[in-house]
Amino acid sequence: MLSLEHITHSIQSWLYGSFNARLALGIEFLIVGLGAITLFAILGLVLVFMERKVAAFIQIRLGPNRVGPGGIFQTLADTLKLAVKEGLTPDGADRFLFNLAPFLVIIISMLALAPIPFARGFRIWDINIGVLYITAVSSLSVIGILMSGWASNNKYSLLGAMRSGAQIVSYELSAGFSVISIIIFTGSLRISDIVASQQNGWWIFKGHIPAFISFIIFIIAVTAETNRAPFDLAEAESELTAGFHTEYSGMKFALFFLSEYVNVFIVCALGATLYFGGWMPLHIGTWTAFNHVMDFIPSSIWFMGKTFSLIFLIMWFRWTFPRLRVDQLLNLEWKYLLPISLFNLLLTTVIAIMGWYF
Amino acid sequence: MNNDELKLILGELIPSGTVVESSEWVTLEIPYAEGKTIARQLRFTSGLDFDYLFCLTCVDWKTHFTLVYHFSSTMHRHSLVIKIKLDHNLPEMATVSDIWRTAEFHEREVYDLFGIRFLGHPDLRRLFLTEDWVGWPLRKDYEDPVNMIKL
């Protein structure tokens, strides 16, 4: 079967065969870069459309259904519109920072794509500190947000950016602790090791109680990290603070908008990798026949299926729950989630040492 | 308390008031100089306890104004109408907004539309119209050739 692994291997061997090592590496960089940008663009299009359709069906209406069959070209039309819109820089704004912020946010999102395994053997860079790399890089996004809020020269953007910054920084702790619980089980930060360790079952089943608790905390924390409802007060408290990206229009706004959705994709991909086995098919212990059947489905389908299920879950949250007030949000993190995650960490360690997991 | 009992008690309490026959409720006309004291009496006398001011308005009778206050008691469920005559040349009245907080807005509205000044009001400004509006629209002699179309 033509797997993505084969394709990358054949391209690599052809390149190294035809050109000298340095040039081949350079061309590889180019290919990977273009691939990442294309992935970004496609993901953005797909996710925005998915959000609108999911929202519509939850709200008993149809959603976009005019542009293209079933409305599939809607996002294309939207992106075109944003591209030709005028990009205003407000008077008195810090021009350099104002223009830099959206690019910073996008670059960070793209960087975090590096270690994520989209299929068996198909990832950009299997760094030995994979999980740490993703967590570290995504925490840089706070800088982009604060930068945009400050450089807008707008009281309300600044307020929104500060709130958003406080929110992201707080919830990173819980997310980090949840991730560490799985690392304790696997014993390695390298993502391919983590996926391989789920050969005989996904961590959410193998790790039973502590993994389950850690998954719940992880989902709550990443919803807050990506500024999604019910934690979206920074962008939806529209009577006062219209968020840190008020003053942006045109392509720069499109970049912010896009990076929010790609961030959701990244955290869901991380969740799928850590808890649901990444590209690993569903294997149940020693049921070899069942496992063989599961193996027929290509690994990229497994990965995308899991990630998109988690994305659907996060979208479901948005259209079901009301919004939290800012002090309730921070309360939730510091008084509830953090103690629970610390306790869970302890529990995980004890269980890992005792070997009481599958 | 029904209307007759009310008339009796009010007759004793407020000698300067005259009962006017006008609607299904007891209507008392009082002089404006005693307005504030009578208001306090109505509010704080046990047995009367008129704690709910549900309508405060003004009628322009071309020769004089009449302020109309509608009270009711949430405890005894009786109602009362108080009327105060004001002269055109001296449209002033003591505020009752310290006794019934709802009067703050109602008195501002009466000031805005009729020009009656309420002495002691914490914040007497126009309510609906802009600060620089000239004239008192609901008065019968209000002329506005630009905005008003007379039928």
């Binding site: 929202a55 939850i58 709200q59 008993i60 209406r61 009281k155 409802a229 019910p230 979206d232 007060l233 939806a236 408290e237 529209s238 009577e239 006062l240 259209w319 079901t320 729950f321 009301p322 919004r323 939290l324 007030r325 800012v326 002090d327 309730q328 | 006008s22 609607s23 409720w25 704690d51 709910y52 001011l53 549900f54 309508c55 308005t57 009628v59 322009d60 109309v68 509608h70 949430t74 469920r77 019934w100 907080r101 709802t102 703050e104 807005f105 109602h106 509205e109 539309l113 126009r126 309510l127 609906f128 119209l129 802009t130 600060e131 620089d132 629209p137 609901l138 007379k150 039928l151």
Partner: protein, 371 residues
């Protein structure tokens, strides 16, 4: 005209909310003084939709002025019209036929239900839950369709006349209302599941915007706003009109006085309205739908006050008549006017997000306040 928006001497922030804003209840302009995130003072600026209705009515006849009130509180248009018609009938001292009474009460209760549904939708939207909006509007469409068949309009139904109603009920009215009752009974439990029992929602509403009973009385609050603080003020029970004294329904009061109490009052009122409609729908008496009145109405000299319970509270119509064909002075006592005056008192010391919750539970319709 407006306060300088900027900073006060103590370094507090002064900001504008409105008159155009997304959690819109009409054109309400609030000037808020903030210390950090806490509200120090809320000052409403009114008049953006002041149309001097009271002055206009002085040149309209007694048949014409009734329909201007539809444009005041457009969500309770039947009830407003009903209030005006009651006042004129009080002046003319005419008896309304029983069929007209029942039709009027049915229309009132349907309107109350529709108004509360819209309130619930907007409440959810203000708090951030965007889905209940669509659910509530779907049920409201059923009521709008019923109204459209009989009255000809979906929002400002000019249906009440002094003496009764303008035209008879549509032949399908009973059938459609019965279908609606069955539909809504199942949905109202959904409303509870979707919003009321949600922890996030309760955290946003409990303990927020406390209004004590004494303050509610002093500020002249009425309707569900006052009933949420324990004040029993339902005009349908205290001063019954039409056939309300013959109907079985409860007056809902809650004692907590916070936003959640006001929310629960309205939710339970929806159920009560439904039960009233159920009691009446099979027992509409036959006969005239309108009493015989002259074409040109002249009220005798005097003053007449009638009060009616709209979805927001007590709506009072005060007519001063000099014996002519047009009133000498009309005063409309609108419920939102007094409820709004309590906003500053309720919002002091709370956060900005709480202000939105409080305004939602007050259920303000600004054209009603501004007249």
């Amino acid at each position: 005209m407006f306060e300088e928006v900027g900073t006060t001497a103590e370094g507090d922030l002064v900001i504008n909310v409105g008159p155009q804003h997304p959690s819109t209840h009409g054109v309400l302009h609030l000037i808020i003084t903030l210390t950090g995130e806490t509200i120090k003072n809320v000052e409403p600026h009114l008049g953006y939709i002041h149309r001097s209705i009271e002055k206009m009515c002085e040149s309209l006849t007694y048949r014409q002025f009734i329909y201007v009130t539809s444009r005041m509180d457009y969500l309770s248009s039947h009830i407003n019209n009903h209030g005006c018609a009651l006042c004129v009938e009080k002046g003319l001292q005419i008896e309304i036929p029983p069929r007209a009474k029942v039709i009027r009460v049915l229309m009132d209760e349907l309107t109350r239900l529709a108004s509360h549904q819209l309130w619930w939708a907007a409440m959810g939207m203000d708090i951030g839950a965007l889905t209940p909006f669509f659910h509530a509007f779907r049920e409201r469409e059923a009521i709008n369709d019923i109204m459209e068949e009989t009255c000809g309009a979906r929002l400002t139904m000019n249906y009440m006349v002094p003496g009764g109603v303008m035209v008879d009920l549509h032949p399908d009215f009973q059938k459609k209302v019965k279908a609606f009752i069955v539909l809504f009974k199942s949905k109202i439990d959904e409303y509870d599941e979707l919003l009321t029992n949600n922890t996030i929602f309760q955290n946003r509403m409990r303990g927020v915007g406390y209004l004590s009973k004494a303050d509610a009385i002093s500020y002249g609050c009425t309707g569900p706003t006052a009933r949420g603080s324990g004040l029993s003020c339902d005009i349908r029970k205290l001063y019954p009109y039409e056939i309300y004294d013959q109907l079985k329904f409860d007056e809902i009061t809650e004692v907590d006085g916070d936003c959640f109490a006001r929310y629960m009052v309205r939710l339970k009122e929806m159920k009560q309205s439904l039960s009233i409609i159920e009691q009446l729908i099979d027992n509409i008496p036959s006969g005239d739908f309108q009493a015989k009145t002259k074409a040109v109405l002249k009220l005798p000299k005097g003053e007449f006050y009638s009060r009616i319970e709209t979805a927001r509270g007590e709506f009072g119509v005060f007519i001063v008549s000099e014996g002519g064909t047009t009133p000498y002075r009309i005063k409309f006592r609108s419920p939102g006017f007094s409820n709004l005056s309590a906003l500053n008192h309720m919002a002091k010391g709370h956060k900005i997000g709480d202000l939105v919750a409080i305004m939602g539970t007050l259920d303000l319709v600004i054209p009603d306040i501004d007249r």
